[in-house]
C-alpha cells in the first residue's frame, strides 16, 4: 500500500509538469511514425532521441524514449492493416487478419481494435514487470544455446504452419529459404565467408531491413499497381464504410474488451518471449497468433479477417516491451534491440540498470513504471485520434498512394545502413518475392527464417561445440525437452502427406 502511495506521488509529479506531458505525447507520435514507415525502426528512433534528449533530466528523457518505443511497436501495425506492408517484422502477424479486415471495409475498426489491444498488452507487461520481474528473469536465464536453437526453429516452423495455404509445405520451404538467406555472409562463429562469391559487399550478410522491405513492400507495390481496376473498387468500398461514420474506430476500441481472454493470454505470451534476451517482438506475435488459432472454435476464419487473430498478435508484440524491460532492469541485460539502445541511454544519463539499481535508486522501478504507464496512455490517446485520420488514407486512390510507397521502400531500405547496395539487393529480392507470393508461397516464414537464422545457426553449433557433438545433454534440460516436444507435436500434426494419405486416399504417386 505504501508502495502504491509512493507510486501515485511519482505519477502525479510527472503529470503535473506540462513539459513532460508534451514530451511524451510528441515522442509517442514520433514513435508511431517510425513504426509505420518501412525502414525506420524503434531502435533507430530510440538512438536518435537519445542524442536529442541528452540535455534533459532522466525522467523526461525516459518519457521521450519509452514513449517512442511503445509508439513504434504499435505504429508498425498501421501499414500492415492498411496496405499489407508491415512497418516492422513484429507487425507481420497483424497483417494476416488486419489486411483482410480493411479490405472488407473495416479498416477503421481494426485500427481501433489494435489501439486498445496494444495499450492493454503494454499495461499487462507493465504489471508483470512490477510484480514478478525477478521470477521471469530467472526463467529467462535458463536459456542456453540448445534452447535458443529450438526456439528459433520453433519460430520458423510455426510461421510456416500458420501461413501456408493448403498444407505447411510451402510455408516450410519459405522458412528454409529464409534460413538460407541468413547464411549469406561471414558466419559469426568462425568468420568463414559463406555464399559471398568473393563480393566484399556480401561479407556482412544481407541487411535485415532490405529483406523485410523486399519481402513485403515491393510485391505489394507491384501487385496493387498492376491490378488497378480491382483496387479502385476496393478503395471505394472502404470509402463507403468510411462514410458510415468514423465512429467505427471507437467501436473497435471498445470491442477489444470483448476479446479480453485473448488479450490476457497473448499478453502473458508476449511478456514471456520479450524477457528472453535476443528474442523479441518478431516471434511473439506469431506464437500468440497460433495459440489463438489453436484455441479457437472456428480456426478456418483465421487469415480471413478474424478480429481475434489480430488482437492476439497485436497484444503480444506490445506486451514484449514490458517483457524486454525485465532482464534490463533486474540484470542489466537487454531483452531486445531497442531495449539495448535504451540501456545505452540509461547509462548515458548516469543510471546503471541492474541489481544495484534498488540500492542506488530505490524509487527507480516505480518511476519507470509510472513513465511507461504515461507512455501507454499517450500511445492510446494518440492512437485513437490518429486512427481516424489514418483510416482516411484508404480513401486516397491506391494508384496515387502506391508510387509514393515505392519511393519510401527504396529510401527506407537505404536509410538504416546508409548503403546503396541494400537497395540493389532489395529490388531483385522483392521481384523474386513477388513471383513466389503469386504462386501462393507465404512470405512471412521467409522473413522469420531470415531473422532467426543467425541465432539458429550459431546456437546449434555452439551447443554442439560445448558438448563435443553429443546431443545427449539436450535431454537433461527440462526446458529444452518441453520445446522439443512442442516442435515434434507441431510437425507431426501438420504433415499434410500423412493426413491426406489416410483421409482421402487420393494419392498421385
Amino acid at each position: 500500500m505504501e508502495g502504491f502511495f509512493q507510486f501515485s506521488q511519482i505519477l502525479w509529479q510527472l503529470v503535473s509538469n506540462p513539459t513532460n506531458l508534451l514530451v511524451v505525447f510528441v515522442a509517442s507520435l514520433l514513435g508511431i511514425g517510425f513504426g509505420a514507415l518501412p525502414g525506420l525502426t524503434a531502435t533507430l528512433g530510440v538512438a536518435l532521441l537519445t542524442t536529442l534528449t541528452y540535455g534533459f533530466d532522466v525522467s523526461t528523457a525516459l518519457l521521450a524514449l519509452l514513449g517512442l518505443y511503445v509508439g513504434a511497436i504499435y505504429g508498425g501495425s498501421y501499414p500492415s492493416i492498411l496496405i499489407n506492408i508491415p512497418g516492422t517484422a513484429a507487425a507481420a502477424a497483424s497483417a494476416l487478419d488486419g489486411y483482410p479486415m480493411s479490405q472488407r471495409g473495416e479498416g477503421a475498426k481494426a485500427l481501433g481494435l489494435i489501439t486498445s489491444a496494444s495499450a492493454i498488452g503494454t499495461f499487462i507487461g507493465l504489471l508483470m514487470l512490477v510484480f514478478i520481474a525477478p521470477f521471469i528473469a530467472s526463467v529467462a536465464l535458463q536459456f542456453t544455446s540448445f534452447e535458443f536453437f529450438l526456439l528459433a526453429l520453433f519460430g520458423i516452423l510455426i510461421s510456416g504452419t500458420l501461413t501456408g495455404e493448403g498444407g505447411a509445405v510451402k510455408g516450410w520451404i519459405m522458412g528454409m529459404l529464409g534460413l538460407f538467406l541468413a547464411t549469406i555472409g561471414r558466419d559469426s562463429l568462425q568468420f568463414f565467408p559463406r555464399f559471398t562469391f568473393d563480393q566484399p559487399a556480401l561479407d556482412s550478410g544481407l541487411d535485415i531491413v532490405a529483406v523485410l522491405i523486399g519481402a513485403y513492400g515491393i510485391p505489394q507495390v507491384i501487385k496493387v499497381l498492376s491490378d488497378t481496376s480491382e483496387v479502385k473498387s476496393k478503395a471505394s468500398a472502404s470509402f463507403d464504410s468510411m462514410k458510415q461514420g468514423f465512429a467505427s474506430v471507437y467501436v473497435g476500441v471498445l470491442e477489444a474488451f470483448k476479446y479480453i481472454k485473448h488479450v490476457v493470454r497473448s499478453a502473458l505470451i508476449g511478456v514471456g518471449i520479450g524477457a528472453v534476451p535476443g528474442v523479441g517482438e518478431d516471434i511473439a506475435g506469431w506464437v500468440s497468433y497460433s495459440a489463438a488459432k489453436k484455441g479457437s472454435k472456428n480456426p478456418e476464419t483465421f487469415g480471413k479477417g478474424n478480429a481475434e487473430g489480430l488482437v492476439s498478435a497485436e497484444t503480444a508484440n506490445n506486451a514484449c516491451v514490458g517483457g524486454a524491460m525485465i532482464p534490463l532492469l533486474t540484470l542489466g541485460i537487454p531483452g531486445s534491440a531497442p531495449a539495448a539502445m535504451l540501456l545505452g541511454a540509461l547509462i548515458l544519463h548516469g543510471v546503471n540498470p541492474g541489481p544495484t539499481l534498488t540500492t542506488e535508486r530505490p524509487d527507480f522501478l516505480l518511476e519507470i513504471t509510472a513513465i511507461m504507464m504515461l507512455a501507454t496512455f499517450a500511445m492510446f490517446i494518440n492512437g485513437t485520434i490518429l486512427a481516424q485520420r489514418v483510416a482516411k488514407l484508404l480513401t486516397v486512390p491506391a494508384t496515387l498512394f502506391m508510387p509514393l510507397v515505392a519511393v519510401l521502400c527504396v529510401l527506407g531500405s537505404y536509410a538504416l545502413g546508409l548503403n546503396v547496395f541494400n537497395i540493389y539487393v532489395m529490388l531483385p529480392f522483392g521481384i523474386l518475392a513477388y513471383c513466389l507470393i503469386e504462386m501462393k508461397f507465404p512470405i512471412s516464414p521467409l522473413v522469420i527464417g531470415f531473422i532467426l537464422g543467425p541465432m539458429a545457426d550459431e546456437s546449434l553449433r555452439r551447443a554442439l561445440l560445448v558438448t563435443e557433438g553429443s546431443l545427449f545433454p539436450l535431454l537433461q534440460r527440462p526446458l529444452a525437452i518441453v520445446l522439443l516436444l512442442i516442435i515434434v507435436v507441431m510437425v507431426l500434426s501438420q504433415v499434410p502427406l500423412i493426413n491426406r494419405m489416410f483421409k482421402k486416399k487420393k494419392v498421385v504417386f
Binding site: L141, L189, F191, P200, P334, L348, G354, T356
Partner: protein, 349 residues
Amino acid sequence: MKHTSPYKQHLASLAAFVGLALGILFFRHTVIDGADEFPSRPISHVVVWSAGGGTDIANRVVSAEMAKLLGQTVNVTNRPGGVAGSLGMSYVSQRPADGYTWVGISESCVTAGVMGGWQERMDIWYPMIIGGSPSVISVSSESSINSLTDLIAQAKQRTINAAAGGSGSIHHLNLLAFERGVDAPFKFVPFPGSAPAQIAAVTQEVHVVITTLAEQQQLISAGKLKPLAMLNESEYAFSENLIIPSAFVDFPSLSEHLPVFQSIGMAISDDAPDEVKALLSEAFTQALQTPTVKTWADNNYFSLSGRTGDAAKEEFARLESLFTWTLNDMGVTKISPEALAIARPDASE
C-alpha cells in the same frame, strides 16, 4: 482565383525552381566554405558500431561535452556494418578532411583492412583515445572453481570452455594471450558479443568468461558471476569487500603477453588542418576532465586514457599489428598484414 491564371502561377514557381537549382549547381564548386573560424557549422559524429554499445556510449558522453566546449552542435549517428566497422570508416574517410566529420572507433576497427573491409590502414586517422575498461576473467558464482590457480590446475586436466566475445575480438585476443601466459589450453567458444558470452557463463554453459569489468559489473554485483582475476598488472577494488586480484601475482609470466587493453576513441582525418587538430585535441582533453565524463567513467569501471596525437597513433599502430597478425595466424584474414605493410608485433617472435 483558382481558374483564372493557373498557368502563370505555376510558371513563376517553375522558373524559380529551375533558376535556383541551376544557380546552386554552377556555384557549388565555389561556395565551399571560406575562411570561417573552425566550428562554424554542426559537426557530424559517425560511430561505426551500433547504438547502445560501449563505443557508442563513450563517444556520445565525450562528444556531448566537447559540443559544449566548442559551442557547436555535434550530431551523433551510427553507421555500423561492413567488416569491423569498415562501412562507417570508409564513409568518414571520404568526407572532406576539415574536422567537421568525426568517427567513433574502437580497437577492433584495426582489423578492417586485413579482413577485406577497405584498403586503408589506421594511419589515415588522427585518433583521440577515450580509454577502455580493464579485462577480467570470471566464472559462475555456482562454479566449483574458486581461484585462478584452481582454474589453471583444472584446465591442465580437463577441457575448460571459455567464452570471450566473438572470434578475433579484443576478448578473444586476451584469451589467447592468457593461454600463452599461463601455458594451459582452453577451448574457445565464440559468442556474438560480450553480453551473451556472460549469460552463458552465468548459466554454466561455459566455464569461464573474459570480458571487460564494465560489461560484467552488474552480473558481479548481482552475485551471478565470480571474478577470478584482472588481466592487467594491478588489482581492482570492486567494492568494499571484493578486491579482484591481478592475475600477474600468481602467474608473473603473463606480463610478457598482457595487458591487451581496450581502446575506445574518436578520430578525424589525418589530413585535417593542423589548427583544427590542435583545437579538437584541446577540447577533447578538456572534455575528459569534466565532472560529467569523470563520474560516468567511475560509475562504469572505465579508465580514461586521453591520449591524442602521436601517442594515440602509436597505440593504434600497436593494436593494429597485434590484432592483424593474430588473426593472420588464425588463418581468417583475407589480405595478409604484410600486404598492407603492417609490421609483426615484437612479443610473438
